[in-house]
């Protein structure tokens, strides 16, 4: 195995574990301020985590091992995604490429774990959340794959690091219409996948609207901690991916301390900006009716599809 | 050798006369079985002789080649299935002496038809089958059986009369060629200078006439009535071999006509008749209400397939046609025997009146289903091979379009037959357990033998394959 890659993985995962709760904290804080509230502070997610890990874990009668295993799987898959996606650097293991399809599959593994956790308790809310979650996940997948496919065409590889490296090498390609179409599509998909506005309102417990929160209702203690951390990691990794594709600069091409430091800083910056922007945007958005969500996703799919076909036409002249 | 040739004729005649004269119960009961067994034995022996290279003859009129020997064996085998399987417990109506006499005569007439070298004698024998079976069809004496008998005799005789007209014209053609004859071997071997336009009319009429008897549409109309009204074994005999014997006559006529005219005329006629038969059968099976009529239409279907095989011609198609004759005969006669048992136990042959047979009467339902599977052309039954061969040969001989239509119609027939069969046998009344039956209705052995043979003959190379190939070659003019 490549030692550099190993270092990078450790760094990336560690940085993401630190950063992603902060990211959530920043987003909540921005939102609170813009809504005229004081907010709980940027570190509140960290405090929540610590609190949850200290609390006892309850398990309802009739639930199975899924309640315990699901959170671990979700966290593990999110961590793996963090390890695979080029966030800080682009060095990869020779045998574990950051292949687009592998990343998406690993992500979906977490999605499934979460959905099963939602179903396991047998409450109506859990089922509802799980059902909606899976419906959206199913509809998001074509957009994700096709949009990254569009980005991969100029590179000729489905490896994310190769795509990012190519974009660093040729910055003009970022501003190309193909790239923009694909990025917009991907962003919509990321919003849907991570349960942000306008698909899901992350800060509500109204049964008509909630998706993510409904699934974690029955979890407590460390289970809930893992679930929350896992979800935050996902959010962080996906936003980080968008960041890496949109603004590839700063990403470490090799594993040296300065390069990594720059990479980490760049990542923190990107995440902060994107997160704050997202939070600001959410304030002005109303949540969509659930059955309007497919329209949004269909729209993003069309964008992604256009990106692919356009890229062929562009490539062929 | 001549003894072997004459044996079936003599035995059937003697048994018929004895039965009519003595009317002892034993003779009445077994005359048909005995005749059929004799025919079968003689057929097998003659087949062996033919395979050894012999061409047994008896007088000028009877001559046995591979085709004749094979057909004689088929007549015997199907006859044995029908008569043996049709043995009801003593006291049934089938013990009447008229019945036995006529069955023996019927078998004799069919034997004569396949043994005859002279086309005129062939015709006389085919017409004689009408006479022998007329009262068999009307045997039950009910209004419907009387109606069926009338239609059968009128339509059958008229049709066969047309065939006679054809033969007359053929004879006229030989007269003008200076060699008056109706001998098949002379007609096919001596390359007489026959007038094509005359042979054309003659051949068309002969085929049309024999097609009536073979149940080919549009001359098939008598068939469902007669088959549904005759006693089950007789239906089995008629459907299983009588139709095939008439078809055999068509093959013989074709072998005479084709060398003179080329294959076009016969091909056109037979392909048309074959497709029409399939269409009629398909149309009428879909909403069929009566079991025996359904079986009758299935016979029309298979005759249609045979016609298509004959239209295709060539060794493969003709050998397939003959194998088809054998398989269809055995399966259909078994099925008619079973239908007789169903009538006896259920009191009806209406399809809607028969339900849950497999649960209630497995002894009837299992042979029924096996026979139906054979008729539907499912492996390992020989009809599978013959149908595949007919389609393949059809394409090879340029009848692709016809074959496509044909298999489409066969598919409709398959759906119809399967639906009705499933309705009668499947599902049912779990509360009512199996009823003891089967053996009390008649022997199972002939059904097992017949269906077993149908299953085996397709997958048996060796003498049978040689015989089929030889017989096909006889018709294709290679021998």
């Amino acid at each position: 195995m490549n030692a550099g890659a190993l270092v990078l993985v450790v760094v990336q995962v560690a940085v993401m574990v630190v950063l992603s709760p902060l990211l959530v904290g920043v987003m909540r804080q921005v939102r609170a301020r813009m809504e005229g509230r004081a907010g709980a502070g940027v570190l509140q997610p960290w405090r929540d985590l610590r609190k949850l890990l200290g609390k006892e874990t309850l398990q309802a009668d009739g639930t199975s091992w899924v309640m315990a295993a699901g959170p671990v799987v979700l966290l593990g898959s999110s961590a793996l995604v963090c390890a695979l996606v080029p966030l800080v650097g682009t060095t990869t293991f020779p045998l574990v490429p950051d292949d687009l399809f592998v990343v998406v599959s690993v992500l979906l593994l977490g999605t499934v774990a979460l959905a099963l956790v939602g179903l396991d308790a047998g409450s109506a809310f859990g089922g509802m959340g799980s059902s909606r979650h899976m419906t959206i996940a199913a509809l998001v997948e074509p957009t994700v794959l096709v949009s990254v496919y569009a980005l991969s065409i100029p590179v000729g590889s489905s490896a994310l690091s190769a795509i990012v490296e190519a974009r660093i090498a040729d910055p003009a390609s970022i501003a190309s219409p193909v790239s923009l179409l694909a990025l917009v599509a991907l962003s919509v998909a990321v919003l849907a996948e991570t349960g942000r506005m306008p698909v899901d309102n992350p800060s509500t417990h109204l049964e008509l609207t909630m998706i993510h929160e409904a699934m974690v209702l029955e979890s407590s203690g460390r289970d809930l901690a893992w679930l929350e951390l896992g979800s935050w990691l996902r959010l962080g990794a996906l936003l980080g991916l968008v960041g890496s594709l949109l603004v590839p600069w700063g990403i470490a091409g090799d594993v040296t301390v300065p390069a990594l430091a720059v990479g980490v800083l760049a990542l923190a910056l990107k995440l902060g900006v994107i997160g704050a922007g997202l939070a600001a945007g959410e304030v002005f958005l109303a949540k969509l009716r659930l059955f309007r969500v497919p329209e949004l996703l269909a729209g993003s799919f069309v964008l992604a599809f256009l990106a692919v076909t356009a890229s062929y036409l562009v490539v062929q002249g | 050798m001549a003894v072997l040739v004459l044996l079936p004729l003599v035995v059937s005649l003697v048994l018929a006369v004895l039965t009519a004269a003595l009317r002892t119960p034993l003779l009445c009961r077994y005359a048909g079985v005995l005749t059929a067994a004799t025919v079968l034995a003689s057929g097998v022996a003659l087949s062996a002789a033919v395979l050894d290279g012999a061409t047994p003859t008896a007088g000028d009129l009877l001559r046995v080649d591979a085709l004749s020997a094979f057909m004689l064996a088929v007549v015997g085998a199907v006859g044995l299935t029908a008569t043996w399987g049709g043995l009801t417990p003593p006291g049934g109506r089938t013990d009447a002496w008229t019945y036995s006499t006529l069955v023996a005569l019927f078998l004799g007439a069919m034997s004569l038809a396949v043994l005859a070298d002279n086309l005129g004698v062939l015709w006389v024998a085919v017409e004689a089958t009408t006479i022998a079976t007329a009262f068999l069809v009307g045997h039950r004496g009910t209004r419907t059986s009387l109606e069926a008998a009338w239609k059968y005799v009128v339509l059958g005789s008229v049709g066969v009369a047309i065939a006679f007209l054809g033969l007359v014209l053929l004879y006229a053609a030989t007269v003008s060629a200076g060699r008056p004859t109706l001998s098949w071997i002379v007609l096919t071997q001596e390359h007489l200078a026959l007038d094509p336009s005359l042979v054309k009319v003659a051949g068309a009429l002969a085929v049309l006439g024999f097609a009536t008897k073979a149940g080919l549409a549009p001359m098939h109309s008598w068939l469902p009535d007669a088959h549904s009204q005759a006693p089950a074994p007789v239906s089995g005999l008629m459907s299983g071999v009588l139709l095939s014997v008439a078809f055999y006559a068509i093959l013989r006529v074709q072998a005479v006509v084709d060398p003179v005219l080329g294959p076009g005329l016969m091909r056109g006629l037979l392909a048309t008749a074959g497709l029409l038969s399939l269409a009629v059968a398909a149309g009428l099976v879909v909403r069929q209400r009566d079991l025996k009529r359904m079986l009758a239409y299935s016979s029309i279907e298979h005759m249609g397939l045979l016609a298509l095989a004959a239209a295709a011609g060539g060794t493969l198609a003709l050998a397939a046609a003959l194998l088809h004759v054998l398989g269809h005969g055995l399966a259909k006669s078994s099925l008619f025997v079973v239908s007789g048992r169903i009538l006896a136990t259920e009191g009806t042959t209406r399809i809607s009146g028969i339900r849950g047979l497999l649960v209630r009467r497995p002894g009837v339902a299992v042979p029924y289903l096996a026979g139906m599977a054979a008729l539907l052309g499912l492996p390992p039954f020989s009809l599978f091979f013959s149908e595949v061969a007919i389609v393949v040969a059809g394409f090879q001989r340029g009848l692709g379009g016809v074959m496509v239509v044909a298999v489409g119609l066969v598919l409709v027939l398959f759906a119809g037959l399967a639906r009705h069969s499933a309705a009668m046998t499947m599902g049912g009344s779990p509360d009512a357990g199996p009823t003891p039956d089967g053996t009390s209705l008649g022997p199972q052995t002939p059904l097992v033998l017949a269906l077993g043979a149908t299953a085996v003959v397709g997958l048996a190379a060796g003498p049978l394959a040689t015989l089929l190939a030889e017989a096909g070659a006889v018709l294709a003019g290679a021998r």
Partner: protein, 665 residues
Amino acid sequence: MTPIQAGLLTQLALAALAVVAAVLTPPRLRARVAGAAVVGLGVAGAVTGAWALGGGQGALRIPVSLPFDPVVLSPDRLGGLFMLVAGLVGAVSASYGISYVRGPAASRTSWSAMAVFLLALQLVPAAADAVSFLLCWELMAVSSTVLLLAEHAHRAAVRSAALWYAVMTHLSFVLLLVGFAVLADAGGGTGFAALSTVPAGSAAASLAFALLVLGFASKAGIVPLHVWLPRAHPEAPSHVSAVMSAAMVKMGVYGAVLVTIRLLPGGPAWWGLLLLAFGAVSAVYGILQASVATDLKRMLAYSTSENVGLMFLALGTGLLLRAQGSAGPADAAIAACLLLVVSHAAFKTTLFLGAGSVLHATGERDLDRLGGLGARMPTTSVAFGIGALGAAALPVTSGFVAEWALLQSLIHGANAQDRLVAVVMPVSVAVVALTAGLALLAFVKAYGIAFLARPRSEGAAAAHESAPGMRVALVLAAASVVVLGLAPGPTYTAVAAAAGLPGPQPVGWWGIDLSAVGALLDPVALTVLAVLLVVPVLVVSVRLARRQPRREVDLPWGCGGVRLSPRMQYTATSYAEPLARVFDDALRPERDVLVTHSAESRYLVERVQFQQHVGDIVEETAYRPGIRFVDRLGLLARRLQNGSIHRYLGYSFVALLAVLVVVSL
């Protein structure tokens, strides 16, 4: 005698032995004796198949009484692969069947049919000429129909299912027959060697291709010829469903591969497009139906339709790309097709056997009446879960590897300078992605509703783990899903050999290197990395757990301590309801809301019942009208035989006049 000959003969002998054993042994021993023989038959098939896959040669001649070209069984590498798959699926399913079957499914007929079925399945890929192919094919159809009918006396649906199956399978046969006849005519013989002399560009080849592919598609359950599948699979005994779905349906794929790769290689691009279109439609339609199905086995059946759709899509992609000249991605696509075959065989066997265990334990197939089986049937639950992961194509299962290969070939295929490909490839990617997404939903639903939460019926509450024999088979099948997923390298080598593709490079721990498209996958390495990342979490979890064990509480919280009854849970119907709404136009579900008013007042509602039924829209719009049409023709045709002898004589007379006119013109 070569090993292949010996293997073929052994299979015949074992099948005969199984039939004899089924017929002669008393009911008490029948399952064990006949079942053991059938298992042996499967193993013999697998061994022979493996040998043929390794390049073994040998032929067995079938005697037939008609003067065909030689009718020969002689498996090549491709056939060997399918024989291997069929044999393994058959052996596992039969061993499961030994403990599973009861009642009519354990009858003499059923065991005999099982033996014949498996034999035919294993011999279809061995056929080396059209006649033996059709023979084995029909034998397979007949015996499976008999198996399907096992419980005809108990459920009315069995009969209609069998009828649909029989007719559709016969349709398939007829199409194949005509297709082969066309080829045999053009190639001058029925042997595959003669058939393959037909140039792929000729009209005859194209006609034959269309007919054969339609015939194979019908057997493979490709939309719109799939209608038998969602009926037959649920009604057959589960171990039979497993063989039907995991092995028999594959024979349709085998046929398609046989025709396009072996008999008529180098076909034009539209062949590929046709297959691709069929595959895409089936994949999406199948998985949509599976997502909204509530009958567990029906859902699995539709999922089969989806998976076969993906196989056709992969094959079509391969052909299309070959025709357009990009060989590398084309090879990857064809390999992906065969990987899908192997993978689907593994996980679908698991799933159907798992469904069988559920049915066995609860008497229920309706997901809306299951629940909470995870605690009651742990082994089944885990095995089914693994199967579901495989079906959802998640890592690290066989399904993931296959879909990964397919997607790789799709996104790299479009490098060809061709606008057609440029449009087709993204659509295919989208189709595969949507399919994968919906499969995820479908299998989360199936697993979550059936095995998690609380039982929704008494049958489910009283469930028990199944017999050891069944569990062993289930675990074997599930293990194969994981093993194939973890170590795809050898499988890839095998399928590449079977399809005659260039040998792949071994990489890492039994990984795949698709060097032609510059992608590699080593699931073991991925797993190791994942484990490394999860270990800290586990360590923390375990330490926390030691300090503060999990506490069992009586009730879920349920947003405020409402006393939850199992009836308040989401059901399979409600789970898929949002999706059904999204795809309203494609599925056209019938929804009924039954409102029961209380006796006192119309303004008071006593009960509201919501029912949703999703029929098969293809069946409703394409088949029903056809059936009605034929039926009406049947009614009309009756007038032909109205009993009047004059009319009958008239037919003859008209025929006579027509013939006279024709011959004298």
